[in-house]
Chain length 611, copies 2
């Protein structure tokens, strides 16, 4: 039973509910004639009335009973005329920062789509600003009705020793945060090799979370569906959103782990994963639907959890089962089902009204008994949050970037500079819609002691610059899969959020980098000396203080630019942003160099001694 994320703890208001249910006291609000989706029994209950008081459900009138006895002169009565009512949608794993806005603006975007609670892993903000930044973000989140439940980042840095971040989180930090009311679990445990190796940091963080009776969320990317996965689960990680094959997802369910089927803006796993349950008749109570990362324009144009539901139904998942996967199943996963996840007496009155079980076209959203969004618009609009000065100035590159900065010396491990000709180099190959990358060994030209890009073969230069402590650290590599002419830069680059630049020529790359340094971070697309699109994200270099709609428009201009520059990927900036994410196979580039993310060691740019 929670004593937060609700208007009042149940024990402080159950007297009122008891009286309202019996008609001894009027309800504050009654919803009439709903098709109530019962997620506890997997049914639709026709002609249901729902009486609310103290932010909770006091009574539901079903099977011919009405809530007439709960209506007094001051009771707000809504006639739903047969619309569906379901429990408020919950996203069991989301990084708000991917939407490039702070939590209050995020809430304005998602609540109209029926989202009433999120399990938010703020590890992006924490990589830049640590616990101090998280405290500010939580303060902002408390100004809106969306229930922003926090699972603090467990892997900050994502892969210690392989990258430089703005902050680092230790076991003591986790112990402290597990005592916070806003914290419902531990953020995704991406250090799966550390867990399997019984490293002190990840196991210590898991220990503090379990001791606090909270949920350890996972991120297991090894592809293994046997020993390694089971060892990972046995450590105490009880849910995971990183399945990419149906077999992985199915095994997680069999191993008692909540399998969070993901469908983000860029990572499209739901269709494949849906086969895990549609190909057989199994219990789906351990399945959640989550979005992980949503670009702002996805939220604005496609929606949030409602979008997941539509996709699930399109994949052949029964619509009520799909609704369970974003309500009661999530609540059970996080141990909060006694307070939310179903529209039943005593639970928080977090409700979504929609007119079709297939399209989930949300008409209205109630949180804690209040109508908070209607007809696609949030009914709340807080003042801009007064972010502390330091959160708005996070670009500290410590290096004067010019076109020359982007020359890549053709130097082998022993210091030899290669003669003009060709060199075999490691290239990170990305594919749209996937978080995984491939390591390819390809030939690039060597000219004047430098390795060159090969735009004609889509082999671009990639650079990562440390931007938190002005160390000047930076490293170079090659990237394939983006197919552009020009340069792209961003500071969203996961998870260290250093300055990442990709391009086919040094001049555009320098302009892109300089542009972001000047504006405090964000995303930019440059070609032939022109800025084709830009999103300014001055808040920690990853978020904008402006409304999500405006940010989405800017992002659209950047994506248009990508398209004009030749890229055909969906959400390409998001896929580009993973070039530096050193916790997912196979090859990544951090400010310290290339990381082999299967063996966790640095590997050189030039491939030597390969037969």
């Amino acid at each position: 039973m929670l004593n937060h994320f609700c208007k009042k703890p149940l024990w402080e208001c159950h007297r009122t509910l008891i009286e309202v249910a019996q008609g001894k006291r009027p309800a504050e609000c009654v919803l009439r004639d709903a098709k109530l989706v019962s997620v506890t029994t997997h049914e639709v209950l026709e002609h249901a009335d729902i009486a609310l008081a103290e932010g909770r459900v006091a009574y539901i009138g079903i099977c011919g009973h009405t809530a007439d006895h709960c209506i007094g002169p001051d009771t707000l009565v809504y006639d739903l005329k047969g619309a569906y009512v379901a429990p408020g949608f919950m996203d069991g794993h989301i990084h708000v920062e991917s939407a490039m806005v702070g939590p209050s603006q995020y809430a304005r975007a998602v609540v109209p789509h029926g989202t009433t609670a999120i399990m938010w892993d703020p590890h992006e903000a924490m990589n830049v600003g640590g616990v101090a930044a998280l405290k500010e973000l939580i303060k902002d989140s408390k100004r809106v009705p969306l229930k922003c439940m926090v699972t603090p980042g467990s892997c900050v840095p994502a892969v210690p020793g392989f990258e430089d971040t703005g902050a680092a989180i230790g076991v003591d930090d986790i112990r402290e945060m597990m005592g916070w009311d806003e914290v419902v679990g531990l953020g995704e445990m991406m250090n799966d090799p550390g867990v399997l190796g019984c490293a002190d940091l990840p196991l210590g963080e898991i220990e503090e979370t379990l001791k606090a009776g909270k949920t350890v969320t996972g991120h297991f990317t090894m592809g293994d569906t046997d020993c390694a996965l089971e060892a990972y689960i046995a450590s105490g990680v009880s849910c995971c959103h990183e399945s990419v094959t149906r077999e992985e997802a199915l095994q997680k369910l069999r191993f008692g782990q909540y399998a969070q089927f993901r469908e983000g803006s860029a990572w499209h796993n739901l269709e494949e994963l849906s086969h895990a349950i549609t190909e057989r008749t199994i219990d789906t109570r351990f399945v959640n639907l989550v979005s992980d990362d949503n670009h702002p324009e996805t939220l604005v144009s496609e929606g949030h959890v409602d979008r997941l539901l539509r996709k699930a139904v399109a994949c052949g998942i029964d619509p009520i089962s799909a609704l369970q996967m974003v309500t009661i199943n999530v609540a059970q996963c996080f141990g909060i089902a006694s307070d939310m996840g179903s529209v039943t007496p005593g639970k928080c009155a977090d409700l979504v009204v929609f007119t079709s079980l297939g399209s989930f076209d949300v008409q209205a959203t109630f949180i804690d008994g209040e109508l908070v969004a209607e007809d696609g618009r949030a009914l709340f609009d807080p003042e801009p949050y007064a972010w502390p000065e330091e959160l708005g100035h996070s670009m500290h590159v410590g290096l004067s970037i010019t076109p020359e900065t982007f020359r890549i010396p053709a130097r082998t491990q022993d210091g030899t500079v290669l003669p003009d000709g060709e060199a075999l180099v490691r290239v990170i190959t990305s594919a749209g819609g996937s978080t995984l990358t491939k390591e390819e060994h390809l030939t690039v030209p060597v000219e004047g002691g430098c390795l060159l890009a090969m735009p004609e073969k889509d082999i671009l230069k990639a650079f990562v610059f440390e931007r938190h402590h002005a160390t000047g650290n930076h490293a170079a590599g090659f990237a394939k899969g983006f197919g552009i002419h020009g340069a792209l830069a961003q500071t969203v680059a996961h998870d260290a959020h250093n300055l990442l630049v990709v391009g086919d020529n040094d001049a555009d790359m320098a302009l892109a980098a300089q542009t972001l340094i000047a504006c405090g971070g964000g995303e930019v697309a440059v070609a032939d000396g022109q800025i084709l699109g830009k999103v300014e994200l001055p808040l920690l270099g990853i978020m904008s203080p402006r409304p999500v709609e405006e940010v989405a428009e800017e992002v659209a201009t950047v994506e248009d630019a990508w398209s004009k520059m030749g890229c055909t990927m969906p959400s390409p900036f998001m896929t580009m942003g993973l070039l530096s994410l050193a916790c997912i196979p196979e090859l990544r580039l951090t400010d310290r160099g290339y990381v082999d993310c299967c063996t966790y060691r640095f590997v050189p740019l030039i491939v030597e001694n390969e037969v």
Copy 2:
């Protein structure tokens, strides 16, 4: 996550599990070639291996994988040759005292039937001996592997002001006990009228339980499936075992309450309730199977939770769904699914081995990774518990009982003594297999200023004597439905456990009462001056310190006696014991008189002014 009811908290042993799963360290025990019942996915996984360490599951080998890599020279290996393995069975609502033994002897009886955990409401012992008695019982329970999870009695007395008990429990007691590791919830909240009336005691107890994050168990007997039930649920009561119709059970599920389908020795509700789920296709995750009260001979001859499973399957419930109802569903109901309820990595190694999904013929039981029962026999046999002196001397009647004690004055409310002839009286009518009674108004003879029994119409005298504080309080009434000649007495009588005597003649009734006073309590059947059967229960007057098999044999002699005396009820002593249970409709007799259990007021024996 529990830090008790397991060998070690997960965070103290996950390093070992991680290593065992990966084959870096040998398992303590491996079960080979099982048909593993996956209650998380509702499947049977063929040819499964299960590796155990530190009392938990480290690894399961499925889909062609074996646990060979977990086997070292000292690993105990059991070849199950295709037998089924399911998670240990849990009984989500049970009164150990009904088995007439203490918890360690109870464990010896039920663990061989696959029971690994019970949610034990010890309100019977607490009505006699209060918190002090409970502490002793818990000490006894800790000497056996069975996980005796306590839900302390919430209604002691069951109906305050209507009966005299040995002890009374208040909100302060509940607050204290909610801090105990052994306590997982609040015992059945039988004061449903008090809850609906917002009385301080029941709501205060619920508040303390919710604040502790524990589960409030229910007992709602009003038959209502609308306002009253919803008000009761909105108070915070999250499970209830008192459904008698399929409609009640179904509505509880729809209202988000765990419906605990009961099948006790005397209360046979499962067949009727099973229709709630077999007549439609609904999610059954909120269904539990519970036994509530089991006579010792039921445990010895028919089993415990395995018996519920067989009955469920006989009622048309799918066998894997039935297994979920005694494993994962119970664990989720009590918020302990992160530690038990499934055979998955990291969970306690509480396992049951059986050879058929229909007969659930338990071959072996493991608790915390140890083989604790095999071939129907417990592998543990603790020394008799050294019960404190005061728990063995609880008969304090404060009255010298003779045949004259059983004369019932034919006196009306205003003191008028009726002349010889007839009188209309209230009679409690019981039916075998039901906890409910009916109030009937029947005519009995008046002779010499006294009301007489009418054995020829099965109208027997009933007396309840206060036995805790030697007050001499007693009251008289009439009982129908037992059909015996002679007298029956017992101190098990719920829930005050006063001395209850029923009979058709005063001499046998006196002998029965005197016999129990002399032996410290128990059950006795007397006819024509002869003791036909007796069970001595000197421990609080409700339990025996001897093994359950011996008690079961004695109970069998008493039941034989009942049968010879003319009674055809199943478990008749148990049904008789509810004559005094003033928290269930319609009419009951306590030491203070007749209680109308629908309106909660005392009603007179003689019906006056009835047209």
